[in-house]
Subunit: 336 residues, 2 copies
């Protein structure tokens, strides 16, 4: 009854019958692989162009053992406004994927549970994966490696033998800190986030490296780690105000946001009484009366590159193990 209305979709056999050729010929006409006469090719192509034949993706996947899908793994992020990183990155990935006739499957995960990851791999729903948040000794990355799934990490994994794409966080931070020192800053505090995440490890590395290069002492008392909540940031600020610091370097714009607010509440003027810089720019930093010095990364580009490298890797091209993208240092009023 109801089914009578459902128009059946055209298959390769329909096209073949219509043109009086075999299905294999149609297949070869479309793919261009195998031997086929030019005249037949054109005739079939013309028919398809006119009538709009689309091959069944499942049948193709089955026959070719290839899905033309890639997965992108996003972390569960509670405070989305503060975390445009992953979604911006996704835009880049999607752009390149589309351009290459791939679709992206998005998996959101808390980072611990591999069930979904396992299912999607073992069901062979994708040809490869992009991990957008990496940890030291990354669990997911190891899992993928074990299962011989092509994958690229956005961010470092701290392991060799994995394809990684990242901004040069360590280098950028090192340069930023060095520049700030050269502008007369004496004692710079560092406020960092979750130290299990590689990005945070890299940034702190940069901070430390800049101290070493300029032969300054590293003072552990003014290095704060794992500031994952507003309250922790607030406490850190209170604490460092007692420690004769003249600049606060924030690991990201979320922390920076809290720092700026806290300083305002304390009546401390930026930059006169305290200089502030962030290792990551996003629009949040435009919300204050004083503009904030920061590092700027092109995150869409990061996504694009990660995707391009993944696709190359899937197609057995040779790709670099580690790709580091450029950054920009943006000096603003907050460190004048």
């Amino acid at each position: 009854m109801a089914n009578e209305n459902i128009e059946k979709v055209m298959t390769i056999h329909d096209v073949a019958r219509e043109l009086g050729v075999s299905a294999s010929t149609v297949s070869r006409a479309i793919s261009g692989k195998g031997r086929i006469g030019e005249a037949t090719r054109k005739r079939i192509q013309a028919y398809i162009d006119e009538h709009g034949f689309y091959p069944n993706a499942a049948a193709q996947s089955l026959a070719q053992a290839k899905t033309n899908n890639i997965a992108i793994i996003l972390p569960e992020v509670k405070t989305l406004v503060d975390m445009p990183f992953f979604h911006t990155c996704m835009y880049g990935v999607e752009e390149v994927a589309q351009a290459n006739d791939y679709d992206i499957i998005v998996i959101i995960t808390n980072g611990k549970d591999t069930k979904n990851l396992e299912r999607i791999i073992m069901n062979r729903k994708v040809d490869g994966m992009i991990l957008t948040r990496t940890y030291e000794n990354d669990f997911f990355a190891k899992f993928l490696k074990e299962h011989q799934v092509p994958f690229v990490t956005v961010g470092k994994t701290g392991e060799a033998d994995m394809i990684q794409v990242d901004h040069d966080n360590a280098g950028a931070c090192r340069e930023l800190v060095t520049v700030l020192f050269s502008k007369g800053i004496k004692k710079m505090a560092y406020l960092g986030g979750n130290m299990e995440q590689m990005v945070n490890i890299s940034r702190l590395e940069g901070y430390v490296a800049a101290h070493k290069r300029t032969k300054r002492e590293i003072n552990e008392d003014i290095i704060y780690k794992n500031l994952t909540t507003k309250v922790l940031v607030e406490k850190a600020v209170e604490d460092l105000l007692l420690r004769d610091v003249d600049c606060i370097l924030c690991e990201d714009d979320f922390i920076c946001d809290e720092v700026v607010r806290k300083l305002a509440r304390e009546g401390i003027k930026i930059p006169e009484q305290m200089k502030v810089a962030s290792c990551h720019y996003s629009r949040v930093l435009d919300n204050y009366p004083v503009t904030i010095t920061s590092l700027k990364f092109d995150i869409v580009e990061l996504g694009r590159r990660a995707c391009q490298i993944l696709l190359d890797s899937i197609n057995n091209k040779i790709v670099p193990d580690m790709t580091l993208l450029d950054y920009e240092i943006i000096l603003k009023e907050s460190t004048k």
Copy 2:
């Protein structure tokens, strides 16, 4: 050579051979459909649990004409920080999809080009779709309807005979405006965004309805539409300052953000000299010294509901044509 290392994945036939049964029996044991003995069921299940067999998704899709994928269509958004809506919504969709063993394919589109949409539908890569931004007389929605693809729109389409899930934007706005009037506001300007988008149409509707209910005159001079850039918002504010308005209602937090900044630059105090409210809360509104009155919507829930309804619809359950979710009016300092 290289291929010798690649371990072949287990198929249903491997399981069958190993247990001395037929593939059909294994299939029936897994699905629970068809006639199968309880003892055999358990034996097969036990083997699978132990050895971890996962069916090939492509083969299943082909056999069942069902992909267990849904697509979510996101608009191209330039200013991500200002637009957490779509991504928050995606979180809700993903949550419900995962819980029901569906994966989500994300398509990002400029809203005009149907090529990707067409491809993904005609290739039968998904069982249904969620549209996250709707326009009056929606092109995509019509396209999907024509192709008999199950779909749900997040936001209204202005058409009957389509499954729509939305917050009650019109009702919420109407109530907010009414409440503000009851608190003594005399003349309220409305600053709206792109009037092709249904959400904006609905909100203005609410504003108008509140005027009618309270028997106030509607003054077209203080209704601004299509304020899609900072500059336009700025100009609108300049303009309405000459018009004896005592409250500005902003269509969303992006506009509100610009309004608050502009008023600050003009030295106009909120709420003493001008009251301000927004029809949409996001964390952006927490960035000012004065807290802002707004409407609050649970966007993750919106995504969840949309997805649940889509899945029900795919499985031929009866679903409501129009689902309107609740809202919250948050009165803060900006309208005191």
